[in-house]
Symmetry: C2
Subunit: 337 residues, 2 copies
């Protein structure tokens, strides 16, 4: 059987994991709007496709699914997920198992304000968050927020930075700066309608960060989770991490999975505050994240599980279990393309 990875980007290791899971019985097909990425280079077959916001995007993917006899499809990019979630039925009609969650799940994960609401509603620890600058000034006056604060776009936008504001002048500046960059980058998508509600200001929590992967089957039933302590970050992505047995963090992550009933992998960031040891959920994404390799290195094999689910085969228990204390890093490996 053949597999389609959309918006593959730089995730060449996931391409390799899926190739290994196939064991020669099928190909990994990758698509991306930019052909020059390591993920595209690692694919068995690759197609340069229109951007996810193009009208031609879904018709193009449907054609590829037919032509390449795709039986499992997943995406590696937040902006791609709502588009695929909306059209999931069309792919399923072609016999493709789609590891993309329901539209409300994707929307909640992509919208950090909705994420905050969902976490509050379910009594899960999360940093105090304000929508827009006026709410933040009010919360600062009330003492609900204290500096340092995080200023970030409400919707996932890879190219726009997250800033730490340490005083009112930095808050005002980074708010306006983020606003300008959002308008510039995504003018045609969302900014024109609701730019004043496009930035969130969040209490910064300092401590030990964890990443958790929670795997569900295609009906949203829990299969496995892996907890990793992050040891080094680089450009917002986990660079070094070690697997851990941390019941408190694991339970929080699994409860988010049981609320969302997502399909496939869920990637969750939890910050355990340095002095109080209270865990705060920072955000989550309903896809394979940059931290999955550390789970894989510790023994789970989620690509293989998804493949067997799509084929209605029994899941091997060892694909769901991980060793504690496995430390991994991402090496840079230069190659020709």
């Amino acid at each position: 059987m053949n597999i389609l990875l959309t918006s593959v980007g730089r995730r060449c290791y996931l391409v390799e994991y899926f190739k290994d899971a196939l064991g020669g019985n099928g190909r990994v097909v990758c698509v991306n709007s930019d052909p020059l990425t390591s993920g595209m280079a690692a694919a068995d077959t690759q197609y340069t496709v229109p951007r996810v916001d193009s009208e031609d995007y879904i018709p193009c993917l449907l054609e590829i699914c037919k032509k390449e006899e795709i039986r499992l499809m997943l995406s590696l990019f937040d902006i791609d997920l709502p588009v695929l979630a909306k059209h999931r039925g069309q792919f399923e009609s072609l016999g493709v198992a789609v590891a993309v969650s329901d539209p409300w799940v994707v929307e909640t994960a992509n919208d950090k304000w909705l994420t905050y609401g969902l976490l509050l509603e379910h009594g899960l620890g999360t940093p105090m968050t304000c929508l827009g600058i006026e709410a933040a000034w009010q919360a600062l006056r009330n003492g609900e927020l204290v500096f340092p604060l995080i200023v970030k776009p409400r919707w996932g936008m890879g190219s726009i930075g997250i800033h730490v504001a340490e005083d009112p002048a930095e808050l005002e500046f980074f708010y306006q700066y983020t606003r300008k960059n959002i308008i510039r980058s995504y003018l045609n998508i969302l900014a024109s309608n609701d730019i004043d509600n496009a930035i969130i200001i969040q209490q910064m929590v300092e401590g030990q960060e964890y990443g958790v992967d929670v795997l569900n089957d295609f009906s949203g039933n829990f299969l496995a989770s892996v907890v990793k302590r992050k040891l080094a970050m680089r450009s917002g992505e986990t660079d070094i991490a070690i697997t851990e047995n941390n019941d408190e963090v694991r339970k929080i992550a699994e409860s988010i999975g049981s609320i969302l009933r997502h399909r496939g992998n869920l990637d969750i960031d939890v910050m355990v505050e340095a002095t109080t040891q209270i865990p705060y959920v920072i955000e989550f994404n309903v896809r394979f994240g940059g931290g999955y390799p550390f789970s894989h290195l510790a023994g789970v094999n989620f690509p293989s599980v998804l493949l067997r689910l799509a084929n209605r085969l029994i899941i091997r228990k060892e694909s769901l279990e991980y060793k504690v204390g496995v430390c991994g890093l991402k090496a840079l490996s230069p190659r020709c393309i």
Copy 2:
């Protein structure tokens, strides 16, 4: 013979290149103050050493050179270079060939204000640069500078960002912000004496960026150069590049090498302005940079050349020649440590 790479950081590919060059006839020994890096993991032998600003640093390296019978040493980190340059003689007394340039060369490369002066003095194109904010305001009034401008620390500081200022408010903010971060990061090294001269403001040049490697022998004589067109950057490091035959850029790079008479590799960034096609030298570093793998993939083998120079062997011509049009990228390769 054994080789010592200091401040190896994440440059695991260079460790591999040196291992290949040794072909089993010796070991690559790596040292770093942080043991958890991919470079350290790739070494044959690794030592966690004091930070480069510690009094114990040089004695510790000398001990390692003796114990491990090191015959060639080089560093991969700007902050490390002046320390090694100052003590080069002590290593040479032990019979170690040191691919570290003279102190004035290292100082000029590390200090972007001195870099600017050297380029001006030799009539090489470089963006108009001001030291400190008052000079920048003056140059803006005169029309010598126009927005957008680059605000960056004068001395190489990996953790402190480079910012683009598009108007006076952004210039004022990023100047103060960079100042604050320099004071915080390097208080004990330089900021207390000369913080008002620790930031440069440079005309931003938009266009096509090139990276050039220029290899000299241990007497500062030219051996080879490789020109690469940068196709993608990530966190300030070249991620995708293609080798090119560009005489204009090559000549500029080689003339810098002939001025500096550096030892080993010189890594140069040149921006060719989009409309005028004028090349501007942005900065240079007298060490292997993040762009070297693209030269290596195209056929040169500078690690092998350095090894043979240290052994007083004849240099193979093919180690100095590259193929044009070779496109490379850095894949992320997860592994256990």
